[in-house]
């Protein structure tokens, strides 16, 4: 027991550096997810019939295929077929981001649709074009409403990022496994990795709750 703790203590800096990789993967993926997700959501609510249909196919595909299969497909398949040489890290960020975009688009879509219709009508009555009204009137309200759903999505992406280990990305899980294979202290190390994921989940969701409070408009209940 004491010996395990010594090994665990020695491995901690190495694992913590892995947590930085995990954070980088999650941050990159969430960023792609927000940008693509918002575009998809706006397209799905305000777009024409064909655009809506195409977005629905995108969402269906990225929500229906397992992450691991998509990682293999993009890393070993599509990107090398197109002669694009990307590191395992970059591919993991892109794939996690594209999947998250599909889920996030549904969060944003729900938020946009929950706004009273009068908002867009009032903007139009004031002479705003839709192109102006959506980013200036609709999205500032919808994004505030999306934070709780977004916080859920963060904890899912965080946990999914451990699968990037399958491509050899040196994040927390991979490092825990490496140390475990060398020291045979499997159980304590995996447990430590799990606890570190728990801590990251806690910190992220806590931060988002603070953000939600911060950006709340006083007197504006939703």
């Amino acid at each position: 027991m004491a010996e395990s703790l010594v090994i665990l203590y020695g491995a901690l800096p190495y694992l913590l550096r892995g947590s930085l990789v995990t954070i980088a993967v999650v941050a990159g993926a969430m960023m792609i997810g927000v940008v693509v997700g918002i575009s998809l959501a706006v397209g799905q609510v305000y777009g024409g019939k064909w655009l809506r249909r195409m977005i629905a196919v995108y969402v269906w595909f990225f929500r229906g295929v397992p992450l691991l299969v998509l990682l293999f497909l993009f890393y070993f398949g599509l990107f090398s077929l197109l002669h694009i040489n990307l590191s395992a890290f970059t591919v993991s960020v892109i794939v996690l981001g594209l999947i998250s975009a599909a889920y996030q688009s549904q969060i944003f879509r729900g938020a946009i649709m929950s706004l009273p219709e009068g908002q867009l009508k009032a903007a139009r009555a004031l002479g705003m074009s839709d192109r102006k009204a959506i980013p200036l009137i609709i999205l500032p309200q919808a994004l505030r409403l999306s934070i709780p759903g977004w916080s859920n999505e963060y904890s899912i992406v965080l946990k999914d990022s451990a699968v990037a280990y399958a491509l050899g990305v040196m994040e927390m899980m991979a490092r825990a496994h490496f140390v475990a294979s060398r020291t045979y202290e499997h159980l304590p190390l995996y447990f430590a990795a799990g606890v570190m994921f728990l801590i990251l989940t806690y910190l992220g969701t806590k931060g988002l709750r603070i953000l939600e409070e911060k950006v709340r408009i006083p007197g504006y209940s939703s």
């Binding site: 269906w60 595909f61 929500r63 229906g64 295929v65 397992p66 992450l67 691991l68 299969v69 998509l70 293999f72 497909l73 070993f76 398949g77 599509l78 090398s80 077929l81 965080l158 946990k159 999914d160 990022s161 451990a162 699968v163 280990y165 399958a166 899980m173 825990a176 496994h177 475990a180 045979y184 202290e185 499997h186 159980l187 304590p188 995996y190 447990f191 990795a193 799990g194 994921f197 728990l198 989940t201």
Partner: protein, 223 residues
């Protein structure tokens, strides 16, 4: 030749074998997951303070640890304390416990949404606690939890691919083997992805049918 690759009998049979292993992973995990989910969910609502704390701790750990970490604990970690599980058993165990924790959240919400008048009426009629849960609140909660639990089963179908990471060769694992042998990664994983899409879409459709079938007229339909 290139076009005919996926009609070669050995490729097809390998994929079918993998699909069969996947189904064997998913089906028991879904059943155990629902059972665990309803048990833990009921305990979290109707248990005493101690049981609630234990059940909440279970949910915290199994929802907070990534599934990969959990699978590694069951497969690579347990030998540390002298328990050796075959990959298949470790995978089913990992999927069931993780899925159960997520399902218990929906079940808990569903139990809490059953109106208090229902439990009071059951008590007034002399139902014991167990009988009240089984015959009065569970049938209502089950219908309300179904959309959420159904979603979890669809997640389970997708996450079953992670069994590959603890050397349980199911559909994704067979795909990896075929792709590495033939260097046809794109085609192979397109086909594998399509199979998963069929599985998840079929499951979603079946669950919606089940919801409609269990729907009690006059009650609001959820989801």
């Amino acid at each position: 030749m290139r076009e005919l690759f996926f009609f070669q009998p050995d490729v097809v049979s390998a994929l079918m074998k993998g699909l069969w292993v996947s189904v064997q992973l998913i089906a028991p995990s879904a059943v155990f997951g629902v059972i665990i989910g309803f048990t833990i969910g009921a305990l979290r609502v109707y248990g005493n303070a101690f049981i609630k704390a234990v059940a909440n701790g279970y949910v915290l750990i199994f929802r907070g640890f990534p599934l990969v970490v959990q699978l590694f604990i069951w497969y690579f970690g347990l030998p540390y304390i002298g328990i050796y599980l075959p990959p298949f058993v470790a995978a089913v165990l990992g999927f069931s416990l993780c899925s159960g924790a997520y399902q218990s959240e929906y079940v808990r919400g569903a139990f809490l949404s059953v109106k208090t008048g229902q439990t009071m009426a059951a008590r007034a009629l002399g139902f014991s606690n167990i009988k009240m849960i089984l015959f009065v609140t569970l049938p209502q909660a089950f219908r309300r939890a179904l959309p959420g639990c159904g979603n979890e089963i669809i997640y389970l179908i997708k996450y079953s691919s992670l069994a590959y990471m603890i050397t349980c060769i199911e559909l994704t694992g067979q795909g990896k083997i075929i792709a590495s042998d033939s260097f046809r990664y794109t085609e192979t994983f397109m086909v594998i992805g399509a199979v998963y899409l069929v599985l998840t879409s079929a499951a979603a459709w079946l669950l919606r049918r089940l919801e409609d079938r269990l729907h009690i007229p006059g009650f609001e339909q959820y989801g």
